[in-house]
Symmetry: C2
């Protein structure tokens, strides 16, 4: 079926292709009469201008890619899934397609996906911390990018321009979480986090420390576990904590998935949650509501991170200012996993 073109519309309306183009793009330079005539034909023939020719002409793909580490695809990670949802929702307003892809590192070499190598994308949204070597590779290509949930401020320290980011304030989130434990009478509070992303570890640890210091609490070294990268490894972290002579009454986990793994371990070891040990997380992924006991956590507005990310990348693409943003990070969601032991 031969798709109708602007030329044929012009012929039918008895005008030039230029006129039709002007009408489509609401430009000056055609008489009201012609405009109406052309509009009528477009309406009647159900004409849609061919996007591919505009792509070629403007050297623009109308694609925005989401680039994820292969370790944490939004399709495997509930946190990034929510961010993706926000981006997707917003993308429709701007007429861009969202394309999911990933970057891999193979013995020190950056493997970019075709869509980026071909510059078949107008902008890139990175999820999570992104290594400098990757960003350097991207910088060669002059494709605008932003980072959603970037933990590392050191990113791209070689360059003069720091990258634009949408972030949570994980120091504040950690502080809020631990403070809640303290308010509920806990004085022996363990910490499970990931040092895989150094700055995430640093930030959450700072918040943990600040809350402890404020209440003049001390900790056992074995309570500080930083080898969690997922549910299973968090389980192991918890097992180590439970081997301590002094056992904590509460555990602060820096993500909900860590908390889920740690709770599982505590239960498997015969502890009641929260009666014997309390747990608190960060993120408020939807799973938090389904486990038992329901997880008390700090809510990060992931949908908002997504919509903000979309706005930022659009600004960048269009050459406008795009300032880094931080979403609200002290929103405590009280459920069932923290026991008040003051009572």
């Amino acid at each position: 079926m031969p798709k109708i073109t602007i030329k044929e519309i012009a012929k039918i309306a008895g005008v030039s292709p230029t006129a039709v183009s002007f009408v489509i793009n609401n430009k000056e330079g055609v008489s009201e009469e012609t405009r109406l005539k052309v509009k009528e034909v477009i309406e009647r023939t159900n004409f849609q201008p061919n996007l591919n020719s505009r792509r070629l002409l403007f050297n623009k793909s109308f694609n925005i890619s989401i680039v994820i580490r292969n370790t944490s695809s939004p399709f495997d990670d509930l946190f990034y899934l929510e961010i993706a949802k926000g981006l997707l929702k917003k993308s429709k307003e701007y007429g861009y397609n969202i394309v999911f892809t990933d970057v891999t590192l193979e013995n020190g070499n950056v493997l970019l996906p075709d869509i980026i190598k071909n510059e078949d994308t107008d902008g890139i949204v990175f999820f999570q911390d992104t290594e400098d070597i990757v960003l350097n590779e991207i910088n060669k290509l002059t494709i605008p990018f932003i980072i959603a949930d970037a933990h590392t401020d050191s990113v791209n320290k070689g360059s003069n321009l720091p990258p634009t980011t949408v972030n949570a304030d994980y120091e504040l989130a950690a502080f809020t979480a631990v403070s809640h434990l303290i308010e509920n009478g806990h004085r022996d509070i363990a910490y499970i986090s990931s040092s895989y992303v150094p700055n995430f570890y640093l930030k959450t640890f700072e918040g943990y420390k600040r809350a402890l210091e404020g209440a003049q609490l001390s900790v056992q070294p074995s309570w500080i576990q930083s080898n969690a990268i997922n549910e299973a490894s968090a389980y192991n972290c918890m097992a180590t904590i439970l081997k301590s002579n002094l056992k904590p009454t509460a555990v602060f986990c820096t993500t909900d998935m860590f908390a889920i793994g740690a709770i599982k371990c505590a239960k498997d070891s015969g502890f009641k949650v929260p009666d014997d040990i309390s747990f608190i997380g960060i993120d408020d992924i939807f799973l938090a509501n389904y486990i038992s006991p329901k997880l008390t956590t700090i809510r990060i507005d992931k949908l908002k991170m997504g919509t903000l990310a979309m706005e930022l990348i659009i600004n960048k693409i269009e050459g406008n200012e795009a300032n880094s943003m931080v979403v609200e990070s002290d929103n405590l969601v009280i459920r069932e996993s923290v026991k008040n032991i003051k009572l």
Copy 2:
């Protein structure tokens, strides 16, 4: 930064653009000498042919869209999320972008997204049952499509060609689930399903019936609930069942999410699961492993559905044969939500 073109490569290599084009596309018609020379220049300059010009030339977008009802986006529905994952994984092999979009029905009118209206997609994968009016609208456009998890065989009965689909065999899944309950000594088995998608209801009910008949069991009318569309409504279905004078010892839910809602209701009403009432679902979404008790269910291989869907739509796009497929649907996953009451 002016992107390098095929013309410039030609100039540098001292040949014609045609020669370069031939080399890029591995075509006959250039001497080995020229080929090597051109390859060297391409390598050295890091040249990537412009996809947009090919898009225009071939009238091909290299996009495949996933179209979902606005009621069940893969980003809200764990079942479709897995299918999307399979599609995405496979899409890289074929060099297509996957674009998520949706179709809405507004007082009887089909609202197609821009990407489809503009025919800016080479193929469409529909998720879940799709109304005839939608398919008719698509048929006008001559974009090839397939349906993943299509429940309705009546789809498009007006047309001479039935659409290509990837499906689960829900009758078999239901039969397998209910048979498992029967094997565990259950004789009073309730049913929670959705009549929102009529054929899904019909199929699962048939499987339920077949298993019951095989064991010569009878049911109370109030045990048959078909108004579930999500977790919350399944909760209500269960509440109705629990109002019966005769209470079932087991409940067969046609999706895991229904089971999750129903279990919640049973617990809230003071029943122990599975001690007082057993539950079984269909799907094996990842949540099934996180709730308590862990859900016994029938596993549908969603990832496989996704990869098959991708293969089918590619076949269709390339004009090859594409035959509907059914994935394995009798894979029982035994966890903790079914009690053996024979013992």
